[in-house]
């Protein structure tokens, strides 16, 4: 989980609620704690096209980066595909078919690397949670790995 984001978040909360400052480590994070639930009450600050996390924009190549996609497929095999099928069929989570058309690259990158705050705020993810009933876990995916997964998703969606 991205610490700097959480710190900003909890600082913002501290000001908003007139509470004492709490460090990121002092907040209970997984599963929705103080910080995440209260933040959900302020959807105005959330951009559903971008999501929440460190990525504002992600540069994509015009064509597929084959090496990157292969690395992504490897990581997905360990950390993702036990819950996500490559088709549009739901398993534990939704199928990946067409995800790069439904979501912006920065949204995907933010969601992979910073899932918990987004699950609490994103209206479409919340609707998805009502169907799947399992929160997408933080799988400790590094920035490089996430970028590889995104490329693998593009490959799955037919980018050559």
């Amino acid at each position: 989980m991205n610490k700097s984001i959480l710190l900003v978040l909890s600082l913002a909360l501290a000001i908003a609620c007139g509470k004492k400052e709490a460090s990121a480590e002092d907040n209970y994070q997984p599963g929705g704690g103080e910080a995440t639930t209260e933040a959900a009450a302020d959807p105005a600050s959330y951009d559903p096209k971008r999501g929440e996390g460190k990525y504002d924009t992600v540069e994509l190549g015009a064509t597929l980066d084959q090496a990157m996609a292969t690395k992504g497929e490897e990581v997905a095999g360990v950390k993702c595909t036990s819950c996500h099928k490559m088709t549009d069929e739901k398993l534990v989570g939704p199928g990946w078919k067409g995800v790069t058309e439904r979501r912006t690259p920065q949204w995907i990158m933010n969601f992979i690397t910073n899932p918990d705050p987004m699950i609490d705020k994103d209206p479409e993810v919340q609707a998805q949670l009502e169907i799947c009933l399992v929160r997408m876990p933080n799988q400790g995916v590094s920035d490089d790995e996430a970028r590889g997964i995104l490329e693998y998703m593009r490959k799955n969606d037919g980018v050559k």
């Binding site: 209970y28 950390k79 595909t81 036990s82 534990v92 399992v134 876990p137």
Partner: protein, 661 residues
């Protein structure tokens, strides 16, 4: 054992007219009005200290937060633990191996945190096994037992594991004198004086990795070594051990080991011992002991049986060990933060002798001996004594320090903690405990730098303290505030049984030491790991079947297995694919002869199962992991021995090939 000890102490109680009552007053005594506030830790907030408490005959270590007294974890060390699968999984079984095979239980008495420059450093905690002599190292990044070493030539491994100020050595002294493993042990018991010996082990600890190595043992007269502490500061290089049964009795010890007016505190110059070892004065003796180590990348324990040990005869070397007479069956042996004062607590004595390191060195220099004991010089009591605390209470056991010049001693018989001034030996304060207190703990209280804010007393008997739960009541700990002049009782909290010694350290020191939240699945080098569902498979090798399985919220892969037969020896190698903190999954299988497995994120663990009945056998996850936890399950078809149902496995397809046959 407890009863005999009480009986022995009763002699003193009856003989004492000074103390009209040894029972504590009513249960509300000593609690002040704002105690609840001072131990309250709000939901979501952390405690200030970690308290590591020995689990006694449970064989485990429990971890509490202070000041709340909330139990945070039980770390399995010397006993099988069905909750975590410790000692049940194939990977952890080697950790409980000994020279006499798998031993699933022990009696865990003392704990010692590693130190650097005499200060608690939060890296490891060492634990002793009393019954089958062993020393364990628990890694505090993982809160997991990382190493267990068995001790040869020992019995009743009580005076352990105490460490030197830079964790150079962990020592372990034997409570029972017995013939060494390298000698004929088939001797009449009443030849104790000739044939029984005491061995003290010095275990070297690697500075970086913490890895232990049984460096050497000292061969000593057959007496009972009870407790110990290392010197520090000026007395660094020395170790001190209490000895009782200097009578060398072998029957009815409660009377026969209480004959002499004084037993001893033995001072060991371990730097001198090192010199003799270097000079080749040690002797390699044949023995057998197990050395078990845990590998964090293969998630697997390995047991190696070693067959020799280096023994140095301390009775033949005249300048390694010295005996200081200490009144009546000394128990605790505690060194103050400056390293100058050594407190011996004679459990049958009605005073506390305090020895001076400087005086001891001086007396040794002048050979100020009153004689020798089986070749070991005995120093004159008055030459080494700093002074005696007069009439402190009944049955003094253990002493810790607050770093402000004060000592705190527990009294088993008069059930109290007494605070006294180390220099003047004046009693300053006393508070009742509830009751029959054994050890006490001040965070860092046996180091050079105590955190003198709290004191915790560990009680043997808890009559009238909690809701009754049958003939046995929980053992307990009591928390006192010692920041002011007067000690104040703040809290009782139950413990797993029976708490002996404990250690405590500031929470930040432990939780900022590189705490592990998950096992990185990329670094998982378990030989039978499945990194992702595509690597799952079932492989038959004769009657052995290896199942490479994964788990994730909220299914196993595979979840349908057919072609298993009665008489097969099935190994489930299960990898938890989660990489999220605090999402373990469990695995249990109907009529498994072991326990469940509890597998941490990124970890691989193995359960062995031998099906004995034909039929369908379900398995499921035991640790509630998501809204679909109840769905996390699967089926195994067990066919008769010799059946021709082919081996198959699947996930998500409803018709495995074999089902059509």
């Amino acid at each position: 054992m407890k009863n005999k000890f009480v009986k022995a102490i009763l002699v003193i109680v009856l003989g004492s007219a000074l103390f009209t009552s040894c029972k504590p007053k009513n249960s509300g005594d000593a609690v002040s009005g704002d105690a609840a506030q001072r131990v309250y830790v709000a939901p979501g907030k952390y405690d200030e200290f970690y308290n590591f408490v020995s689990g006694g005959f449970s064989g485990q270590m429990s971890v509490y937060g202070l000041p709340s007294g909330r139990m945070l974890k039980v770390v399995p060390i010397f006993s099988q633990d069905p909750e975590s699968g410790w000692g049940f999984s194939e990977e952890t079984k080697p950790m409980l191996n000994t020279s006499e095979g798998f031993i699933p239980w022990d009696d865990q008495h003392h704990l010692e945190l590693s130190q650097t420059n005499g200060e608690v450093d939060g890296r490891w905690i060492f634990a002793n096994a009393n019954n089958t002599p062993r020393i364990a190292r628990v890694d505090l990044k993982r809160f997991k037992t990382a190493e267990i070493i068995e001790l040869p030539n020992s019995a009743g491994n009580h005076s352990s594991p105490f460490i030197t100020e830079n964790t150079e050595y962990v020592v372990a002294g034997t409570r029972f004198g017995v013939p060494g493993d390298y000698e004929n042990g088939d001797v009449p018991i009443n030849t104790y004086k000739e044939n029984f010996k005491g061995h003290i082990s010095f275990i070297k600890v690697d500075k970086e990795s913490g890895k232990m190595d049984l460096s050497f043992q000292l061969r000593l007269p057959g007496v009972n070594f009870d407790l110990s502490h290392a010197g520090k500061g000026k007395s660094h290089g020395w170790f001190f051990f209490t000895c009782y049964n200097s009578e060398q009795a072998n029957t009815l010890l409660e009377v026969n080991a209480s004959q002499r007016d004084k037993d001893f505190i033995m001072a060991v110059n371990w730097k001198k011992a090192e010199e003799y070892i270097k000079a080749g004065k040690g002797k390699i003796e044949k023995t057998k002991y197990a050395h078990n180590t845990w590998n964090d990348e293969t998630h697997t324990g390995t047991s190696v049986i070693k067959d020799e040990v280096l023994v140095l005869d301390a009775m033949a070397m005249k300048d390694i060990c010295y005996l200081m007479p200490c009144p009546k069956s000394p128990h605790g042996c505690d060194v103050d933060p400056t390293g100058e004062y050594i407190v011996g607590s004679g459990k049958l004595a009605a005073l506390i002798p305090v020895f001076s390191f400087d005086k001891m060195i001086n007396a040794i220099g002048k050979k100020d001996y009153e004689g020798d004991y089986e070749g070991i010089p005995v120093l004159k009591y008055n030459s080494v004594l700093h002074g005696e605390v007069q009439k402190p209470g009944l049955g003094p056991l253990h002493t810790e320090f607050d770093g402000k010049g004060n000592a705190y001693t527990t009294f088993f018989v008069s059930s109290e903690v007494v605070k006294w001034d180390i220099k003047t030996l004046k009693v300053l304060d006393r508070v009742p405990t509830y009751y029959s207190v054994g050890h006490l703990c001040i965070p860092g209280g046996d180091s050079k730098k105590p955190f003198g804010k709290y004191l915790i007393a560990y009680n043997k008997i808890t009559k009238d303290r909690y809701l009754p739960t049958g003939p046995e009541l929980t053992q307990s700990a009591q928390l006192y505030d010692i920041s002011g002049d007067k000690m104040q009782l703040l809290l009782d909290f139950p413990t797993i049984g029976e708490p002996h010694y404990a250690q405590a350290a500031p929470a930040d020191l432990i939780r900022n030491n590189g705490q592990l939240k998950i096992y990185d699945i990329k670094k998982n080098n378990h030989p039978r790991v499945a990194k992702g569902e595509k690597e799952t498979k079932v492989v038959r090798e004769g009657n052995k079947v290896h199942v490479y399985m994964t788990m994730v919220r909220s299914h196993f892969s595979p979840d349908n297995i057919e072609g298993i037969k009665v008489g097969d020896d099935v190994y489930f190698h299960i990898t938890n694919l989660e990489q999220d903190w605090d999402v373990p999954h469990g695995f249990s299988i109907r009529r498994a002869q072991t326990a469940e497995l509890l597998i941490m994120p990124g970890e691989t663990s193995t359960l062995n199962w031998k099906p004995t009945k034909v039929g369908i056998v379900p398995f499921y996850c035991t640790d509630f992991c998501s809204a679909l936890h109840q769905e996390m399950s699967g089926y195994i078809r067990v066919s008769p021995a010799g059946s021709n149902v082919p081996l198959s496995y699947s996930l998500g397809t409803n018709l495995p090939a074999s089902s059509t046959k």
